[in-house]
């Protein structure tokens, strides 16, 4: 399968009053054509910054994409794009759905206008054609009465409907890559399920690759082919959905899975929780960032960064636990 996007050693920092915040510290991953990849992690782990940098939305300054970072989209390094190339890429090749649709849409323009705006920027010059395409898009994302709703303003829609408009704008030019940055976090569960279904359907139809960013592993259980787990600006584990859920390797991933109660099981046991809080990214810890909260922490974890171990095709974890010297130390944890 062809690699559509390849991120190599991405490092992004933000300069603030309290010093340099190292939001992303050497992230590498790839997305194949038509593949659904999920990036999972808690707030502040750098998942949104990663996605926004791929989309070219990281403001520099205060942000800084460090030397040595490479983002290769379809064979071209986007960090070296000119402004004109950026314009074609953003929205044309790659589109994004934001978490807060009300903040992302322009409140003073009708939704029809906002969808058309994008179509016009990316090629459709004829007014009538743009209108009919807009109506088609509104229908595709499940807005009832599209001709009438074309003239409505964002505040006249409910949260779920607004998110549908965002999706319509995102898919307007058939992008090769769609980034969904917590698209359902602000929505109710029933609407969340509808939106996820819609994204799944559209992506399948057009063979679009998706990067789904979320903090909720449940949301991506069914949707993502591959899952990347991030913690404190780094990838800690990566693997297929089955690998992550059933053959969990990294202690953080396991803790993340065990700290949410399951609706379908009757659990009597106390919820597992992770002691403490994520590290301060102005002064990231030496060694493994999770060491301070990890039940398996060894001496080496606080001193040196863990290497990457591969377990089977495409399933990797960064953890000292899997070093040959640590073998048998902790016993094999339940499968």
């Amino acid at each position: 399968m062809k690699k559509l996007l390849e991120v190599k050693n991405l490092r992004v920092s933000f300069h603030s009053y309290s010093g340099e915040v190292e939001a992303v510290r050497g992230v590498s991953f790839h997305v194949n054509e038509g593949e659904s990849v999920a990036i999972v992690g808690e707030s502040g782990c750098g998942k949104s910054v990663t996605a926004r940098t791929v989309m070219g939305l990281t403001q520099c300054p205060p942000g800084e994409i460090k030397e040595g970072s490479e983002i290769i989209f379809d064979g071209r390094d986007i960090t070296k794009f000119s402004e004109k190339e950026w314009q074609r890429y953003r929205g044309g090749d790659c589109a994004i759905i934001f978490q807060d649709a009300l903040a992302a849409l322009n409140p003073t323009l009708t939704v029809g206008h906002q969808i058309e705006e994008k179509l016009k920027l990316h090629g459709i010059k004829d007014k009538k054609e743009a209108y009919s395409e807009t109506v088609r898009l509104l229908t595709a994302v499940g807005i009832p009465n599209p001709e009438k709703r074309y003239k409505a303003y964002p505040h006249e829609f409910s949260g779920g409907m607004r998110q549908r408009i965002m999706i319509a704008i995102a898919i307007a030019c058939n992008p090769g890559l769609l980034i969904a940055d917590e698209p359902t976090t602000a929505l109710d569960v029933t609407i969340q399920a509808d939106i996820i279904d819609l994204i799944k359907e559209l992506v399948k139809e057009h063979n679009t690759a998706v990067i789904m960013i979320t903090h909720d592993l449940g949301v991506v259980a069914d949707m993502a082919e591959r899952i990347i787990v991030m913690y404190a600006g780094k990838v800690v584990e990566e693997g297929s959905s089955e690998d992550i859920f059933y053959k969990t390797k990294h202690p953080y991933t396991r803790a993340l899975l065990n700290s949410v109660p399951r609706l379908d099981l009757d659990e009597e046991k106390e919820l597992e929780f992770i002691e403490g809080a994520p590290p301060d990214m102005t002064d990231p810890p030496k060694g493994c960032a999770f060491a301070g909260r990890c039940p398996y922490c060894m001496e080496i974890c606080t001193k040196e960064e863990p290497p990457c171990y591969e377990f089977n095709e495409g399933h990797t974890a960064h953890c000292w636990k899997y070093h040959e010297y640590a073998e048998g130390l902790f016993g094999e944890v339940e499968e």
């Binding site: 909720d216 592993l217 379908d264 046991k269």
Partner: protein, 341 residues
Amino acid sequence: MDRGEIKDKERTKDKEEVKDREKILEVKHLKKYFKQSGKSVLKAVDDVSFDVYKGETVGIVGESGCGKTTCARTCIGMYPATSGEVIYKGKDISKLRGAEKRSFTKEVQIIFQDPYSSLDPKMRVGDIICEGLRAHKMCKSKEEYNKRAVELLEMVGLNPEHANRYVHEFSGGQRQRIGIARALAVEPDFVVCDEPISALDVSIQAQIVNLLSKLKREKELTFMFIAHDLSMVKYVSDRIIVMYLGTIAEITDSKSLYSDPKHPYTKALLSAIPIPDPKVEKERERIKLQGELPSPTDPPKGCRFINRCKFAKEICAREMPQLREVEKGHSVACHLYDEQI
């Protein structure tokens, strides 16, 4: 002590109490309307009746705008009820005056959703925690207040030195702990937790939930736990109330909610909740709801759920279904279960 043992203990305790489970709160035909601009009236809570027993955790779930927060706030007297009664320990809370009112405000506390806006940024943490104590003059000297503040901070897992800091120096999870310490400072009997974990990260959520259940056991509290995260509510609650558009759709114990939901809305709600297990998730079938949530200023006549229910019959448009017990401890408001009674 692990949870299994605790459950056993609770069970034996339950048996002793089963004869006369004391009602701590009785809500009877409670309505809370808000006047809006023009003539429209927002019916946030519309004829809700339920009981809360001493020592249990009652969960309230529903989508945003279903009236769960309004219902809880009206129950503890933060809003005056439009009509209906809230009876706390045998007394109507709207008729409490003087000393009785003071003791009611001491016994009933709330933990708010947003740990960022519910704590005063200009006050030191120690003062925030002791504000309630001071209002009720529960300690005699300054030293005693300070001592109490330290105790409370330790109880919720914070350091005693934190008493002199300001709120902005804390993370979301820590702030929520401060909110919990403040609520429990005056030694309440009944605590409303209004989405206490929604603003927090997953790993921190579990910390707070475990803390709440530990405190509940130690202090024999009664909880009303509001959240839209059904898996968490199921985990913490003994009984669950499902609300839809200002009315109660179903009341049941937390186990049979998932294994045997009755109301079509509950079924749809449950099927929409993602389960973090790809195999289970692939096999589940989702019940899709048609249409949108109607506006609470103009709710449908008859059953509130009628425009989204695929089982809707003619009677549903005419009559509002009443909450009826269909099995022991399992009540549902739906005309589909009329014949069974």
